[in-house]
């Protein structure tokens, strides 16, 4: 049943993405409005999917790749929608929804079997730690999209090429602000994810930190974002450098999320 809902939400995300791309090309307000409605509906259905999966599995559905990536996409969708009400960043949806749909497709092609919960994960910390950590990823993914848009727009202005992007992308200021706000929400969540994880580790394995690859890489990610925020607040780093750094940071997020799981062995490898 939850899978049927999952497919419905995937379908809506695909439609919404297509609509956002059409709206980007022909700059139609009506199409853009329908795209937004599609994504809102998709996010609502998708939330229902996660709730239903929780009921079906009997534990927090954040254990295998299918579940974790699906929740990643859901976090990104809500992060995007929550920002829509506060900041009007023109055509942000065109950049966010393809990433979102990409995540959903990865999730769709992963094993959908409800896994047997390993003993190590039978803890109240599972929903807390995993959901916070993945929610952080949602906001950092949004910062990544904003950064890509920034680089495209800044290139158009610097190189004086007034093509497709110049008229369709918002001002540099708006994109930099979006980036800043995503980071100021995403970074505390990332920090909280690491803290809750280490408390859980202490309870499960008796020590706060193991230098397990996932822990190490999340720390590297944390340092990248901490450096970026530090530079923003002290030196006034902004614009292109900040955007590049947000992209590098997000690559670290993705590596921590997948790379570590598939390439390096560690105590987090159950999530396969």
């Amino acid at each position: 049943m939850s899978y049927l809902l999952f497919q419905a939400s995937l379908f809506l995300y695909v439609l919404g993405t297509a609509a956002y791309i059409v709206a980007f090309v022909n700059q139609s307000k009506t199409v853009r409005r329908s795209a937004r409605l599609l994504i809102i509906t998709a996010a609502v259905v998708h939330t229902g999917t996660v709730v239903l999966r929780y009921v079906e599995a009997g534990h927090t559905p954040l254990v295998n790749n299918h579940e974790a990536v699906s929740f990643f996409a859901l976090s990104m969708a809500w992060a995007f929608l929550s920002f829509y009400w506060r900041y009007k960043v023109k055509n942000l949806g065109t950049f966010v929804t393809p990433v979102l749909t990409g995540l959903m497709l990865v999730s769709a092609f992963s094993s959908r079997q409800i896994p047997e919960l390993p003993p190590a994960l039978r803890s109240t910390w599972l929903p807390i730690h995993a959901s916070i950590a993945i929610l952080a990823n949602g906001f950092l993914a949004l910062a990544f999209c904003g950064a890509v848009m920034y680089l495209l727009q800044e290139r158009a202005i610097k190189k004086k090429s007034f093509g497709v992007f110049f008229s369709r992308l918002p001002s540099l200021e708006a994109l930099d602000t979006l980036n800043h706000h995503c980071l100021t929400v995403g970074f505390p969540l990332l920090t909280l994810g690491i803290i809750t994880g280490s408390i859980w580790a202490e309870q499960a394995w008796g020590s706060y930190w193991h230098w397990d690859p996932k822990e190490t890489w999340s720390l590297i990610t944390w340092f990248l974002y901490a450096a970026l925020l530090h530079q923003r607040f002290t030196v006034g780093w902004r614009g292109r450098r900040a955007a590049i750094m947000a992209i590098v940071g997000f690559s670290a997020v993705l590596f921590t999320f997948w790379g570590v799981t598939y390439l390096l062995q560690g105590v987090h490898t159950y999530a396969g």
Partner: protein
């Protein structure tokens, strides 16, 4: 039969400026407007006179005569023989006239397609016509429709969205960098006319402060006073850069006035906040390598020209969509005009039948003497329903939506003759006074 909507005029495409300037009715348009309204056959009129066009929109009964007299009136001061005036004047009639007016209102017929001024000028012209009561039902509807068509074109196409002048292009670029320009600070280096114009446009966007830097302080102070700003000398230029977001340079200096190495350290002090440099001087004032610095955006006069050219091309593309809207609305308006002609005829038929019915009823009642009110009511209902049933088919015949324009006119004419309407009624289409 019905009155015709006509446009007669000259514009920048058809007529050289020497002729146009002799026609322009600068200042008060009331007198010529009343004179045109007084021409034989002219039912309603509106006069639009701008620097690029003089056009009269009018509704006429006798087209040729009114047109001839109108042309004579317009060219009276130009001293041109009538044969000559034919060369310059264009006349549109009916659907073409409506389409032309919609195109003018939507700024599709302007020298710079999409420029917004024409709509304001047309609104003024309409206001004058209303003040002088030279507009009737048709002109009122036509011009208010033209305003809504112009609005539709503006909202549904991007025809007016991109800047087609250097100073507007600078404003547009500044908005792409800073978003909102409120609270930003501008520095003018040198006091050229173009820089002044650009600064004016920026100030209109809510710029907080203007600083003027000039070789002679006095000139700087004079200009600064205009913008409520402050003045500095050229030596203070680099130091002042810390607090500035946009710099417009237009000195007559033979060499560069600002170098990359001077600005680089300033960026650190500015906490890397973006700096938009506009160089409209020839030869250039600003080091072209300034564009290499992070968060510094340098545009010279050629770059700005390029923006303008790109925007013009974009406008031409949007104009195609706007043309479609104008054609669509013209068709809608013509449909309205048709019903305008049919409705008075239907009303006239009904009124005539009702007049006959009540007169005959009154005569019969007086012959019948006293009858109970219930029976009297029954006779009234009977006569009414006979009339309604008889008129039902002729009215349907008139309203037939499938008919072509010619066919409709014939039906209208036939019906009016059949019911003898024009013998005792004013002709169809005569608009009531506004």
């Amino acid at each position: 039969m019905a009155d015709t909507i006509l446009v007669l005029g000259v514009n920048h495409k058809t007529t050289p400026v020497e002729v146009r300037e002799k026609l322009a009715f600068s200042g008060d348009c009331s007198t010529p407007l009343l004179a045109i309204h007084a021409l034989p056959g002219c039912q309603e009129c509106c006069l639009l006179s701008t620097c690029n066009r003089v056009e009269v929109y009018f509704v006429a009964r006798n087209r040729e005569e009114t047109e001839r007299q109108l042309r004579a009136f317009l060219f009276a001061q130009a001293g041109l023989p009538e044969s000559e005036t034919h060369r310059y004047v264009y006349v549109h009639q009916g659907a073409d006239a409506v389409h032309h007016i919609f195109r003018v209102a939507g700024s599709l017929d302007s020298m710079i397609v999409g420029e917004p001024q024409i709509l304001g000028q047309l609104k003024d012209a309409y206001q004058k016509a209303c003040d002088q009561a030279t507009c009737g039902v048709i002109m009122n509807k036509l011009l208010t429709k033209a305003f809504s068509v112009a609005k539709r074109i503006r909202t549904e196409t991007n025809i007016g969205s991109s800047a087609v002048s250097i100073s507007y292009a600078a404003v547009e670029l500044a908005k792409k960098i800073f978003g909102d320009l409120r609270g930003k600070r501008v520095m003018l280096v040198g006091a050229g006319e173009m820089a002044e114009l650009a600064a004016e446009h920026l100030v209109n966007q809510g710029i907080a402060k203007v600083v003027v830097a000039n070789r002679t302080l006095e000139r700087a102070m004079n200009l600064a006073r205009r913008f409520n700003g402050s003045a500095v000398t050229l030596d203070e230029l680099v130091g002042e850069l810390v607090g500035v977001d946009i710099l417009i340079s237009s000195t007559g200096a033979p060499g560069l006035v600002l170098l990359k190495d001077q600005v680089k350290p300033v960026m650190r002090q500015r906490r890397h906040s973006p700096l938009f440099l506009i160089d409209i001087a020839v030869p250039r004032d600003l080091d072209p390598r300034l564009n290499d610095i992070d968060n510094v955006y340098l545009y010279d006069i050629d770059d700005l020209n390029q923006v303008v050219e790109t925007n013009k091309a974009e406008r031409d593309k949007e104009a195609v969509r706007a043309e479609r809207i104008a054609s669509e609305e013209t068709m809608k308006f013509l449909q309205w005009l048709e019903t305008m002609e049919i409705t008075p005829t239907i009303i006239a038929i009904r009124e005539k039948a009702e007049a006959i019915r009540s007169a005959e009823l009154a005569r019969t009642m007086s012959q019948l003497g006293d009858i109970p009110p219930k029976q009297k009511k029954a006779i009234e209902v009977l006569t009414s329903s006979i009339i309604n049933k008889i008129l039902h088919d002729p009215i349907l015949f008139l309203k037939n939506g499938q008919a072509s324009q010619d066919d409709k006119a014939q039906r209208l004419d036939l019906t009016r003759r059949l019911f003898g309407l024009d013998r005792e009624q004013p002709p169809a289409g005569k608009p009531p006074a506004a």
